[in-house]
C-alpha cells in the first residue's frame, strides 16, 4: 500500500512536470501515437494485397492487434520507464532510490512517468474499436465478461515482463535492449494471428513466456476460432491465473536482482 502511494505521488510529480511544457507533451504524445499507428498501416498495406493473413481477415487481425495494443499500452504507460534501470545502475543513481523510505520497485516504476505513452494506448484502443465495429462476433455473456478480464490480465502479463526485464538489467546493465525483444517484440508478435507462426514459436510463447494468454487464447474463444496448438477451450479463461503467476515470478526475480545489486560507488 505504501508502494502504491509512493507510485501515485511520484507519477503525479512527473505529470505536473510534463504539463509545464504542454506543446512538447502534445508533440511527443502525437509522435508516440504515430509510431505505433505505422504498425497498423503496415498491416493495412498487407491487406491491400491480400484478403486474409493466416486465415484471418483484416478485422480479425485488428481485433488481435487492438487487444495486444491496449494490454501492452497499459503496462507501458504504467511501468514502461523501468527499462531505465540499467542506466541508473551504471551511473550510480539507483543508490538514491535505495535510501528513500519507499519500495524501490514503486519508485522505479513511476520514475520519469511518461504520459506521452497515452499515445500508444489510444492507438490500440482505436484499432480495437474499429475491430469491434466490423468483426462479426456472436456475443454471449461469457464473451462480454472475458473482454475486460483479458485486457487487465494481458496488462498484468506485460507488467511481469517489464519487471523481469528490469531484474535482468541488474546483471546485464548495458544489455537493456534484450528486454525490447520481449516487450515490443512480444506485442508485435501478438498483433498477428498464431496461425502465421511456426509451431515451436507458438509453443514457446505459450508454455515458456506465456504471451499467448494475453490475446491469442482468449481471442480464439471470442472469435470462435480453433485454438492454437489444439489447446482445450477452458484455457481461454486462464489469463488471470497466468497473469498472477507471472507477476509472482517476476517479483521473485526482482528480489533476487535487487539483492545482488552492487553499487558502482560513484
Amino acid at each position: 500500500m505504501q508502494g502504491l502511494r509512493a507510485y501515485r505521488l511520484i507519477a503525479g510529480m512527473w505529470i505536473r512536470s510534463t504539463m509545464a511544457y504542454r506543446a512538447s507533451f502534445v508533440m511527443t504524445a502525437v509522435g508516440n501515437f504515430a509510431m505505433t499507428f505505422l504498425d497498423f498501416v503496415t498491416i493495412a498495406l498487407m491487406f491491400s494485397q491480400v484478403d486474409a493473413l493466416g486465415g484471418y481477415s483484416l478485422s480479425e487481425v485488428a481485433f488481435l492487434y487492438g487487444l495486444s495494443g491496449v494490454s501492452f499500452g497499459i503496462a507501458d504507460l504504467g511501468i514502461g520507464s523501468m527499462d531505465r534501470l540499467g542506466r541508473r545502475v551504471r551511473d550510480g543513481t539507483l543508490d538514491t532510490l535505495l535510501v528513500r523510505p519507499a519500495p524501490v520497485l514503486a519508485q522505479l516504476a513511476a520514475d520519469r512517468f511518461a504520459l506521452r505513452r497515452l499515445g500508444r494506448l489510444t492507438q490500440g484502443a482505436l484499432v480495437l474499436g474499429y475491430a469491434l465495429a466490423t468483426v462479426h462476433i456472436a456475443w454471449t455473456p461469457a464473451k462480454l465478461l472475458l473482454m475486460p478480464v483479458m485486457l487487465v490480465s494481458g496488462a498484468g502479463i506485460f507488467c511481469a515482463v517489464f519487471v523481469a526485464g528490469a531484474a535482468f538489467q541488474f546483471v546485464a546493465q548495458d544489455a537493456s535492449e534484450v528486454q525490447n525483444a520481449f516487450t515490443y517484440g512480444g506485442t508485435t508478435l501478438l498483433q498477428y494471428p498464431p496461425t502465421v507462426f511456426a509451431k515451436e514459436l507458438v509453443r514457446g510463447v505459450t508454455f515458456v513466456l506465456p504471451l499467448a494468454f494475453v490475446n491469442w487464447l482468449p481471442a480464439s474463444f471470442v472469435l470462435g476460432r480453433p485454438y492454437p496448438l489444439g489447446l482445450p477451450e477452458w484455457t481461454a479463461f486462464t489469463p488471470p491465473l497466468v497473469a498472477v503467476a507471472c507477476c509472482a515470478l517476476a517479483g521473485l526475480a526482482w528480489r533476487a536482482g535487487l539483492r545482488s545489486y552492487r553499487s558502482t560507488g560513484s
Binding site: 512538447s24 511527443t28 509522435g31 504515430a34 505505422l38 494485397q49 493473413l53 548495458d174 535492449e177 498477428y192
Partner: protein, 266 residues
C-alpha cells in the same frame, strides 16, 4: 592528403569506440534476430497468400527481412546514429568546439558516422543475417560480382542515410531540442525506407512516390541489387544523385546555421 588522413582517423576512432560497447552489441544482435523472426513469418504468410507479390518470390522476401534487420542499426533508420550526439552538442553549445577545429563540420561527422555504420554492419548486421540464412530459405547470389555491387550500394546508402540525418541534426540550431524532428525523421524513415514492408509491395501511386524519395536508397536499393531486381548502375545513379542533393543541402544549411545562430553555453 592530410585532410583525408584526418577523416580516416576520425572514422577509425568512431569504429573503435563502438567496438567497446560489447554487451549492448550482443543485446542488439539478439533483439534484431527476434524481430527478424517475427517479421519473417508474417512475410511468409503474406507471400503464401500471394506468391510473387511485388515481383519477389518467397525466398527473396525472406532475404529482404533479414537484410532489413542487418541494416536497421547500420543505417540508423530508427535512430542511434551520430545525429543524436551532434544534436546534443548543439543544444549544450559544445558544437562551438567542433566549429573551432581545423576540420569541416559535415565531413567530420560523416567520417564519424561511417565508422559507426561499418561497425554496426559487421557487429550487429552479420549475425542476424547468418541466423536467417541458416534457418530460412534465402535467395543469395552465387556470383562475387553481385556481392561486390551490393556492398557498393550499401556504402552509397550510408552516405544518403547520413545526408538525411545531418539535416535533421542541424534543425537543433534553431529548435534547440531536436527530439521532435528526430522522432518525425525516424517515423518517415522507417516507413519510406521499406523497413516495415518492401516498397514494391506498396500499392499504386503511394508506391510510385515512396520509390522516388531518398529513403528508398537505404534498404530497398541495396536489397534490389543483391536480389538481382535492379540494375546496379541505375541504382548507383539514383543513390548518388540523392547523396549529392542532400550533401549540398546540408552544406547550405550548415553555412546559414553557423553564420546566423548564436551558440548557447558558457
Amino acid at each position: 592528403m592530410g585532410a583525408a588522413r584526418l577523416y580516416a582517423a576520425v572514422a577509425a576512432g568512431s569504429f573503435r569506440r563502438y567496438t567497446t560497447y560489447r554487451a549492448a552489441t550482443a543485446a542488439g544482435v539478439f533483439t534484431n534476430t527476434v524481430f527478424g523472426l517475427i517479421l519473417v513469418y508474417t512475410y511468409l504468410a503474406l507471400w503464401d497468400q500471394k506468391p510473387h507479390l511485388g515481383g519477389y518470390d518467397q525466398a527473396q522476401a525472406v532475404t529482404y527481412v533479414w537484410l532489413g534487420q542487418a541494416f536497421l542499426s547500420t543505417l540508423a533508420i530508427g535512430g542511434g546514429g551520430v545525429e543524436e550526439e551532434l544534436m546534443e552538442r548543439i543544444r549544450t553549445g559544445d558544437v562551438a568546439i567542433d566549429l573551432y577545429r581545423p576540420a569541416d563540420l559535415q565531413l567530420w561527422w560523416l567520417a564519424s558516422d561511417l565508422g559507426r555504420a561499418f561497425f554496426q554492419l559487421i557487429g550487429r548486421g552479420v549475425v542476424p543475417f547468418l541466423f536467417g540464412a541458416l534457418f530460412f530459405p534465402m535467395a543469395l547470389p552465387a556470383s562475387a560480382a553481385r556481392w561486390a555491387a551490393f556492398f557498393a550500394a550499401i556504402v552509397l546508402a550510408m552516405l544518403v542515410g547520413f545526408g538525411i540525418r545531418f539535416l535533421v541534426a542541424l534543425s537543433a540550431f534553431w529548435l534547440l531540442d531536436g527530439a521532435g524532428t528526430a522522432q518525425m525523421a525516424w517515423l518517415v524513415g522507417l516507413f519510406c525506407s521499406g523497413m516495415l514492408l518492401p516498397l514494391n509491395v506498396f500499392p499504386g501511386a503511394l508506391g510510385e512516390v515512396v520509390r522516388l524519395l531518398p529513403w528508398s536508397s537505404l534498404l530497398q536499393a541495396p536489397a534490389d541489387v543483391l536480389l538481382g531486381h535492379a540494375d546496379p548502375l541505375a541504382t548507383y545513379a539514383f543513390q548518388g544523385a540523392w547523396a549529392v542533393v542532400l550533401f549540398a543541402a546540408g552544406r547550405l544549411l550548415q553555412s546559414v546555421a553557423t553564420r546566423r545562430v548564436v551558440v548557447q553555453g558558457g
